[in-house]
């Protein structure tokens, strides 16, 4: 049996707020409430990275949040997708280039779907999640690394070592 097609039938969500104003977060919760009812797609908000498939990130990623975001990302088992919800999560939004933010989620972890809006509307969040499901179906089970985190050829690192390597890079501030 092809197990891949069941990925999009039961995506479980982890929702993480990286310093957002809570506007997008309220919209995400609205999606789960009776009016939009995301559960009809089998979507559950697990609140636990180890059992989740979709990471919904809001907020511009403050300096304090970047390490947490990376750790949560590494605790999620592959295949997984990341959805950046809201203008701040996509680009940094009104906070872009401020001293305390990292200009969007994709500067820390690879992002698959960007959902714009300030705050993003529930309809567009649902649209984004459904788009993410299509990507999820095609994903492989290899560990996905952020672009700034290079592993030299021939070196075999386990998950914990990879996380530490990436943490080293983002804490040193050297990223292209």
């Amino acid at each position: 049996m092809e197990l891949k097609k069941f990925r999009k039938k039961s995506p479980w969500i982890l929702h993480y707020n990286t310093g957002s104003c809570n506007g997008c977060d309220i919209e995400i919760l609205a999606c789960l409430a009776p009016k939009y009812d995301l559960e009809r797609f089998g979507i559950l908000n697990r609140g636990n990275p180890k059992q989740s498939d979709i990471l919904l990130v809001t907020g511009p990623v403050t300096k304090r949040a970047k390490e947490r975001l990376l750790r949560l990302y590494f605790e999620m088992p592959e295949p997984k997708v990341v959805v950046a919800v809201g203008a701040c999560a996509c680009t940094g939004g009104v906070f872009r280039h401020m001293y305390n933010v990292e200009n969007g989620v994709d500067s820390i972890i690879p992002v698959d779907v960007y959902v714009p809006g300030c705050a993003a509307r529930p309809e567009s969040i649902i649209d984004g999640v459904v788009k993410a499901l299509e990507i999820l179906e095609k994903k492989k089970k290899e560990i996905e690394l952020p672009p700034y985190c290079k592993v030299p050829e021939g070196e075999k690192l386990n998950r914990r070592k990879l996380l530490e390597r990436c943490l080293e890079v983002i804490n040193a501030g050297r990223r292209s």
């Binding site: 990275p49 180890k50 975001l69 750790r71 949560l72 605790e75 386990n158 998950r159």
Partner: protein
């Protein structure tokens, strides 16, 4: 025939003497080791004799026992005055007075003072196996503690075994009093062994509390002579309590409750933990406190169904639950074990006071398995104290990484007190099904509630401790067993082996072996049968495949779990919301329970008095 019985009393004393005078550690160990095969062989010989057996020793023994009594009580009085302990001296003086009175009015009976039946032999077996294993263990333990005083210590333990053998085979209540007080003396001497201020004060506490039991026996003797003019257990069993007074029986029951460390007299058993660990092991498992259920079992045919028995059920059931509750608040490993002993002693007496053959069978199974398991657990407590320098359960955190064998032993011990296929569970199950026949009696409904609640509280307690032990940081990368001294390993291993084998063959054990003892106590055996591993009771059955299945799940699988590795699987850290935090994980100590401790003690005192006043017919 009589020689076998006498040698069961005297041989441990002889061995004790030999140990005391022998100059070399190895020699002492060898002599101590001899006690195990010799005592077991002798018990086996007694088992094969034609029971019950009445023995009349020469007349001078009676005089000697009386003189010994006086000497003992005068020694207690002296200790009370020496340590300026008011209670000890007053109680000793009161006992001297009561004893003199008893001797004045005691009639000359023809009943032989020594009576050996199935129950006695059963106790011989426990003393011979568990007791001598603890003595063997003690030689190694003392080597690590204080080699100079090893000979005294081991000699005292061995002497204690002889006393215990004697105590369970007397028929004359006056002699029983003498031996009861001797066990008190033994506990006093052993608890005091380290000679520091805490030890001495705890030993004095044990002394005065146990003397209350002595007074109760003397009162029972007085009233027994007054009302029935009998002073032997076999004669008491012949009287009909429905038409005569319950007072002597009430007092004997009180003596049992005090000796069995039931609340509110539980503190002396908790205080015993200041002594070296083998003392706790021997007090809690093989000897001493087992006199309490023994006494109730002796009386059970005559008190069965009376108000006294029902009140005993409620009192001991209450202790079973509340001692378990109080154990939740403790963080000292030995204290947890002590509380669970108090709790399980309550259960043994509960089943003994029910008195029906099935309940008596349950009580005997409880005595047997509890002796084995408690000895095992205390041995392991000694091991973690000596080898891993841990006394509190906070300190045994992650023990599984350092000491897998010890953890397996402790887990077997803990699980065998609560979970399905083990002997103690079977006893609880038999009791529950027995009590379900009498749902119109409040005491029996109460006993179901008490057993169910108490055992689930003990489950909570034990898994709390197992949880602390098995917590670990990561994979077993380099799996290695700890190095245990051979004596520690073999004694504990034997006990664990017995727990497991005995539980697997529980059907045969209870139907063929223990049931013979039941028949000697309550005139008819319990209606249980064994077919293969399946235990069949009149109401239902426990199938062999259930027992085997549970054992595979409980025993083989967790050991197997040490060796299971999932190599191709990623490792991650625990979920801490993405934070990098160093956590110090403790355990929950149920402070909410310690608030109600005064209430529990008040209730226990009230129940105690009610048992004496209403059950004894003082009203």
């Amino acid at each position: 025939m009589e020689k076998v019985i006498y040698s069961l009393f005297l041989l441990p004393w002889l061995l004790a003497l030999l140990v005391f005078v022998s100059p070399f550690h190895r020699l002492r160990q060898l002599i101590t080791f001899l006690s195990f095969p010799i005592l077991t062989y002798l018990s086996f010989k007694v088992w094969n004799l034609k029971l019950p057996l009445f023995i009349t020793p020469p007349e001078w023994v009676n005089l000697a026992v009386t003189l010994f009594d006086y000497g003992l009580l005068l020694y207690f009085l002296y200790q009370g005055i020496k340590f300026r302990n008011f209670l000890v001296s007053v109680l000793a003086a009161a006992q001297l007075f009561l004893l003199s009175w008893v001797l004045l009015i005691i009639p000359h009976g023809e009943t032989p003072p020594i009576y050996v039946d199935g129950l006695t032999t059963f106790m011989y077996f426990i003393v011979a196996t568990v007791g001598s294993l603890i003595c063997i263990y003690a030689t190694k333990y003392m080597e690590q503690e204080d080699l100079d005083r090893e000979n005294r210590f081991v000699a005292a333990l061995l002497w204690f075994l002889g006393v215990m053998n004697f105590a369970v085979s007397v028929n004359n209540v006056e002699w029983f009093f003498a031996l009861f007080e001797t066990t008190t003396l033994a506990s006093y001497v052993l608890i005091r062994f380290r000679w520091d201020s805490v030890s001495i004060s705890n030993a004095l506490q044990a002394l005065w509390m146990n003397q209350i039991g002595g007074i109760a026996i003397l009162l029972a003797l007085l009233f027994g002579i007054k009302y029935y003019s009998v002073y032997s257990f076999t004669d008491i069993l012949k009287v009909n309590p429905a038409v005569t007074s319950m007072i002597p029986l009430g007092f004997l029951a009180i003596a049992a409750l005090v000796k069995g460390a039931q609340m509110p007299f539980h503190r002396w058993l908790l205080g015993a933990m200041v002594a070296p660990t083998p003392v706790s092991a021997i007090l809690h498992s093989a000897t001493m406190v087992k006199i309490a259920p023994y006494l109730i079992l002796r009386l059970s045919p005559v008190i069965k169904g009376t108000l006294l028995a029902k009140l005993l059920i409620v009192t001991t059931g209450f202790v079973f639950v509340s001692a378990g509750l109080l154990a939740l608040t403790q963080d000292n490993f030995k204290k947890i074990l002590a509380y669970s002993t108090i709790s399980l002693l309550g259960l043994m007496m509960l089943t003994a006071s029910m008195g029906s053959p099935t309940a008596v069978l349950a009580s005997l199974l409880l005595i047997l398995f509890h002796a084995v398991v408690k000895a095992l657990l205390f041995m392991e407590a000694g091991v973690i104290e000596k080898l891993f320098k841990a006394k509190y359960i906070e300190e045994i955190r992650r023990l599984v990484e350092k000491a897998p064998i010890t953890v397996v032993f402790i887990s077997i011990g803990f699980m065998s007190m609560t979970i399905v296929p083990y002997g103690i569970f079977m006893a609880k199950w038999l009791t529950l099904e027995e009590a379900s026949n009498f749902l119109s009696h409040g005491a029996y409904v109460g006993s179901i509630i008490f057993i169910a609640t108490g055992s689930v509280i003990l489950t909570l307690l034990y898994f709390k401790v197992i949880g602390v032990m098995t917590r670990k940081r990561g994979e077993f990368m380099r799996f290695k067993l700890e190095k245990l001294p051979f004596i520690y390993l073999s004694t504990a291993g034997l006990l664990a082996l017995f727990t497991i084998v005995g539980s697997i063959f529980i059907a045969h054990l209870s139907a063929d072996f223990v049931n013979a003892v039941v028949a000697s106590i309550s005139s008819s055996p319990a209606p249980v049968k064994a077919s293969g591993l399946t235990l069949i009771t009149p109401l239902s059955e426990v199938y062999g495949w259930q027992i085997i299945g549970a054992f595979i799940l409980l025993l083989i699988v967790p050991i197997f779990a040490y060796f299971v590795h999932f190599p191709e699987v990623d490792r991650v850290y625990e979920y801490t919301c993405g934070e990098r935090v160093e956590t110090t994980l403790g355990t929950y100590n149920f402070f909410c329970v310690s608030q109600v401790e005064p209430l529990i003690e008040t209730a226990a005192v009230a129940l105690f008095i009610i048992t004496l006043v209403l059950g004894g017919g003082l009203i």
